[in-house]
């Protein structure tokens, strides 16, 4: 499941945001990937299309890394 989700994140971040696939690791912070707060909001819109789960603004407050975001998506999917 987590592998599938990481694959989804990798696909979105490479195809929609032009980030190199090998940079997308669970530990990577969005800041390190060059994404600002507007980018992260946009990321949630794309993820909603892919996963059916929408992360709201207030849920993003403590999201720093790809793993943080994957955890939030998994919580909501459960």
């Amino acid at each position: 499941m987590s592998q599938d989700l990481l694959a989804t994140f990798t696909e979105v971040l490479t195809e929609e945001f032009g980030i190199e696939a090998d940079q997308v690791t669970p530990d990577a912070t969005f800041e390190a990937l060059g994404l600002d707060s507007l980018d992260v909001v946009e990321l949630t819109l794309v993820l909603e299309e892919k996963t059916g789960v929408k992360l709201e603004d207030e849920e993003l407050e403590d999201v720093r890394t790809v793993q943080d975001a994957m955890n939030k998506v998994q919580e909501k999917q459960a």
Partner: protein, 415 residues
């Protein structure tokens, strides 16, 4: 009064990339009009457009540029980078200003529409998917001041940063106001230009509905300023940027001055939302103001790069305005409209044509009015057509008239 000179040029215009290519295209009368497949797909009533050569925003401007910036900002950034490097203020690789104090370097852009493609692509998203699916990038992408803001971010210019909208005169207005920022002491250098990327299905449909676009489906003859058979303009896109600098500042750093912005005029028709008055109306005031401010005699203006959109109303009114100002001296002015090549690039036009006007001074060559076969007998002007005219050019006028009845005129002289 502080003399303000032009020390750098940058351009991405229909069918051409960079100063050398654009100028070669203008001299060759290489019309950029072509059937636009995207417009064909959208089923717009007119499908001709004058597009810039294809480019990859992410490769040219950095990763994420395609997603974060509207097309009009891409064009502005590309033209500004070339102009800044041409002026010797930075290299093309490292756009950070090195040859001028960034805090004394301003940016002034003109745009008629701003992020037209962003509006066109995001509004259906809002309607179909709902408010919660609107991109957070919509506002920064769409705002018409983003081009100027982005040029500042990329170059580090922290001086006055503004955007002017006089529709199809915006590029010329930006050069006028940029010059005045320097004259007023607010900046030493101003990166000034015009930009438009408005070839969207919505905009093309609307211009067609107004009857502003040519119904001529032949790309080779569609944009034909001053021709008796002209029946509208071909929409274009592009950007052009000039580096404005006080003559003192340019001399101190050993920069080459290509032209002096000796005169600039602005006026309104106070007449109609889209049509010029038959007698040229407010354009007369703008042209006269530019000539008088420059202090050149009516017999000293060598060349006019006309607004010359290829619409029946504009070209005739412009000819009358010119004669109202210059009287018998009108016959001594070599007139050309480079819109036969570029089509009408709206807010970019005034800046693109200012670049061509500077080139005419530099090279002593006046580009022909492309596609002009039978000059309208109502237009009693010496219009250059067929091939470039070799002629000494010491003073050149460039005119721009925007919807809303907003007029601009620039009078550029050899430094």
């Amino acid at each position: 009064m502080t003399d303000v000179v032009i020390t750098g040029l940058g351009i991405i215009s229909p069918g051409a990339r960079g100063l050398d290519d654009a100028w070669a295209g203008a001299l060759a009368g290489r019309t950029a009009a072509a059937v636009d497949e995207r417009l064909v797909e959208m089923g717009t009533p007119v499908t001709l457009a004058c597009r810039v050569p294809a480019f990859d925003p992410d490769a040219e401007l950095g990763r994420g540029s395609a997603r974060r910036l509207d097309r009009f900002t891409h064009l502005a950034a590309i033209a500004a980078r070339e102009a800044i490097a041409h002026a010797g203020l930075a290299s093309e690789e490292d756009e950070q200003l090195a040859g001028a104090d960034p805090d004394r370097t301003g940016v002034l852009f003109g745009s008629g529409i701003g992020g037209a493609e962003t509006w066109a692509s995001e509004y259906p998203n809002y309607l179909e998917k709902g408010p919660k699916r609107v991109s957070p990038m919509f506002v920064p992408k769409m705002l018409s001041n983003t081009a100027a803001g982005t040029v500042a971010i990329r170059s580090g210019a922290r001086g006055p940063n503004m955007t002017v909208n006089t529709a199809c005169a915006a590029g010329a207005s930006a050069i006028h106001l940029g010059r005045d920022l320097i004259r007023g002491g607010a900046a030493d250098v101003v990166i000034a230009g015009g930009v438009e990327a408005g070839v969207t299905g919505l905009a093309v449909s609307a211009f067609a509905q107004m009857g502003a676009l040519t119904k001529n489906p032949d790309p080779a003859t569609a944009s034909r300023p001053f021709d008796v058979d002209r029946d509208g303009f071909v929409i274009g896109e592009g950007a052009a940027v000039v580096i404005l600098e006080s003559a003192e500042h340019a001399a101190a750093r050993g920069a080459t001055a290509y032209a002096t912005v000796a005169g600039a005029g602005a006026s309104a028709d106070a007449h109609h939302a889209t049509a010029p008055p038959e007698d040229g109306g407010g354009a007369v005031l703008a042209i006269r103001a530019a000539v008088e401010e420059a202090g050149v005699g009516l017999d000293e203006v060598d060349h006019l790069n006309a607004h010359g959109t290829s619409t029946p109303l504009n070209d005739a009114a412009e000819a009358r305005a010119l004669r109202a100002v210059f009287g018998d001296h009108t016959d001594g002015i070599a007139v050309a409209s480079t819109k036969g090549v570029t089509g009408h690039t709206l807010g970019a036009a005034g800046a693109i044509e200012a670049v061509f006007a500077v080139q005419a001074i530099r090279e002593g060559r006046i580009p022909p009015t492309a596609n002009l076969v039978n000059q309208d007998p109502e237009i009693a002007l010496d219009v250059v057509s067929g091939s470039p005219r070799e002629q000494d050019v010491a003073a050149v006028l460039s005119t721009s008239m925007g919807f809303g009845g907003q007029n601009a005129a620039l009078l550029l002289t050899r430094p």
